[in-house]
Each structure stands twice: as structure tokens, then as C-alpha cells.
Symmetry: C2
Subunit: 231 residues, 2 copies
């Protein structure tokens, strides 16, 4: 690897981590805006998405320029492609944070849910930890950490299934808060999807380190989440 190429990949790595930090912050703010019933904070997340999108585009352009200039092969080529894919996942996590913020903003304008049947913040913390670990795994090309992210996904799926059932029961008990509860359920679904994107990033790290593809198989027959709430 030439010194110039090494410098370039270091630069790209930093750019990806910056993007990762922006996305983590957006997610944290979106959850806080829900917790604190703060529509201005939610609005800030919504506005901030443009910057996340433009940062993703910048990284993609940088990757393409690096590919054209250095024409890497083997590990180096895979590394650049992994970065491209990772950015795509980060940008989508940013979109999910916006979705959460939009729903939080809506919920702020409605009567507060009296008996929130589920601790969404705890679920979000777990997904946030997965995202953080996936990014750390990238920095150190740490496959153990990446494997841990894959394992954690099953827990988040299980949490979402439980949440689905509790909210459905709450809908029956409090039909006057049906609208709010649908939104609450949808926020849970965003977080569950977000965890899936963290898994994608972890899988890119695994792919990078050993050249194999790991695909989360949505059609896995042991995966029963779809039955009770894939939205």
C-alpha cells in the first residue's frame, strides 16, 4: 500500500467516523425529543438531515476519486467498497432518526400517553450501543466486536416483539389513545430497523476482514419477527 493511498484511507476512515458521530447524535436527539416532549429538538434533527446526506455524498465522491486514482485491488479495494456500503447504511440510519423525530414532533402535539406500556429509551440505548460497536469494529477491523453486534440483533428483535404485544394490548385498553400508540409502535419499529443497519455495518467489517459475505437472511424460518410486526 503506497503512503499516499494509506493517507487517503485514513482520511476516509475519519470521514466515516464523523458521519457516524453525526448520525449517533441525531438518533440521541430524536429519542430525547420524544422523552422530553421537545418539538424544537425534533425539528433540529429533521433539519440536520441535509448535512448528513451531503456528508455521505462527499465520502462517496472521495471513495470514487480514490478508486479512480489508486486503482486498488484485493484488501484495499474491498476496504473502499465496504466504506461505500457503510456510508449508505449510516445515511439510512440518519433517515430513521428523522422518522423518529417526525413522530416525536407529532406526539408532542397530541395528548400525552398516560400509561406508556414500554421503555422505548432502554430499547434505543441498546440499538445505539450496537451502532457504536459497529463503528468501533470498523476502526480496528475488530471481528469479535463485529460478531457481537450480530448477536445483539436477536435481542433487539425480541424486545420489539415484546413491545408489539404490550402496545397492542394497550390499544385495546385505551382506544382513545389509539393514534398515539400507533406512532409509539412505529418508533419502536424504526429502532428495530436501525439495529439491522448496525448489523449491516458489522457485516461489512467481517466481509472486509475475511472476504466473505454475511447476509442477514430475512427469510430465515427461525426468524418469527415478521409474523408479529415487520412494518
Amino acid at each position: 500500500m503506497s503512503i499516499h493511498f494509506r493517507r487517503q484511507t485514513e482520511k476516509l476512515k475519519k470521514m466515516v467516523l464523523t458521519l457516524g458521530g453525526m448520525v449517533e447524535q441525531a438518533l440521541r436527539d430524536a429519542i430525547n425529543s420524544l422523552d422530553q416532549r421537545d418539538p424544537e429538538l425534533a425539528q433540529r434533527v429533521i433539519r440536520g438531515d441535509r448535512q448528513i446526506n451531503s456528508t455521505e455524498v462527499e465520502i462517496e465522491e472521495e471513495c470514487l476519486a480514490t478508486l479512480a486514482l489508486h486503482q486498488p485491488v484485493a484488501f484495499d479495494l474491498r476496504y473502499l467498497i465496504a466504506i461505500l456500503k457503510m456510508c449508505n447504511d449510516l445515511e439510512r440510519i440518519g433517515d430513521l432518526a428523522v422518522n423518529v423525530a417526525e413522530q416525536a414532533k407529532f406526539l408532542c402535539s397530541e395528548e400525552e400517553i398516560m400509561h406508556v406500556p414500554y421503555d422505548l429509551t432502554a430499547m434505543a440505548s441498546r440499538a445505539q450501543m450496537m451502532l457504536k460497536n459497529a463503528l468501533d469494529a470498523l476502526v480496528n477491523v475488530d471481528t469479535t466486536l463485529a460478531e457481537g453486534v450480530r448477536a445483539a440483533d436477536r435481542q433487539v428483535d425480541a424486545i420489539y416483539r415484546e413491545m408489539f404485544e404490550l402496545i397492542e394490548a394497550a390499544m385495546r385498553e385505551n382506544p382513545h389513545q389509539l393514534t398515539q400508540l400507533i406512532h409509539y409502535l412505529q418508533i419502536g419499529r424504526q429502532i428495530e430497523r436501525l439495529a439491522d443497519h448496525a448489523v449491516n455495518i458489522a457485516e461489512d467489517v467481517l466481509y472486509l476482514s475475511n472476504g466473505e459475505f454475511f447476509k442477514k437472511n430475512a427469510g430465515d424460518e427461525n426468524d418469527t419477527i415478521g409474523r408479529i410486526g415487520h412494518a
Copy 2:
């Protein structure tokens, strides 16, 4: 462009169209399994996802080999990267078809919804048309067709908003069918997301033809869909 490289991109284009065809079929079967209350057909979609995933991996490998061997620049480089991104979207559309199939399978095991408040098949047809047009736009690098796909997305979003309100009303009127109606709503949401992926593909075609990025801005303040139902 060398003859060998041209042959290789023709091969890749065919592979992408094959993947596109598989995904279109999966989606059609998933919707039919819901319409006809056919759990076996739904199960076939779920099982078929493995093949979609492995085809995506094959195309990615072929793209990487082509990048390493031919080290293309300018349009040719962008073309290969566009194919990589497109495959990713197609694979995700395949996952959405699996989600629809899983929910259809669940709904087959429950009491039939008496007054289905919305024509989901019509909504699905529109999204399927967007997917078909996006793939055709790729084949001919047809920017007019690609622009049309972007425009159609607003219609699908509007349809989903209307659906959301009708189903919410139905939930109030028929609380004994709450579970089924939640699933029905979630299927609508899958179709709305699927249309977003068709837009991504169309944007890849636009990117390809003029080197500019077009990002659907999830934080667009004129986009009110999040307020009423981003899940």
C-alpha cells in the same frame, strides 16, 4: 472502453435484470398470497429470499472482480458503482417482499378482515410499476423514465397517508380486528418503502448519466408523511 470490458458490463446488466425479475416476482407473489389467502405461496416467497440474496452476492463479486481487473475510470467506474448500489436496493426490496409474505401468512391464519378499508393491490401495482420503470431506465440509461419514477413517489406517499387514516378509522370501528388491521397497515408501509427503493434505483440512473447525486431528503419540511405514519 475495451471490448472485454463492454462484454463484462453487458453481463452485469443482465445479472441485475435477472435479480430485478426475481424481486418483481417475489413481490407479485407476496401480494397474491395476501389477496388469495394462500399461505403456501407466502411460504414460497420466504424460502425464495435465499436465492435473491445469493444472486446479489454473485453480482457484487462480479463487480469487484471487474473493478480489480479493468480498473475503470469516469463513466465506467460510476456505472459499476451504480450497479453495486442498485443490487443493494433490489436485495432490500426482496426483504420487503418477504416481510409482506410473512404478514400475509399470519393474516391467513386469522379471521378474515370483513371490511378491508383500502385497495392494497392497487397501491402495490403502482409501486411495482415504479420498480419496473426504474429497471427499464437502467437498461437504456433513460433519464426521463428515471425522473418519472421520482415523481411517482409522491403519489405513493399520498396513497399511504390516505390508507393510514382509513385503517386507523377502521381500528376504532372494529376493535376486535385490531391485530389484523395493524398487520394490514404494516403491509402498506412495506409497499411505501419499496417505492422509496425504486426511487433510489432511479436516482442511481440519474447519477450515472450526469454524475450528480440525487438524494431523497427524508427531512424535507414539505414531506409530511412522517407525521402520520413512518414505520
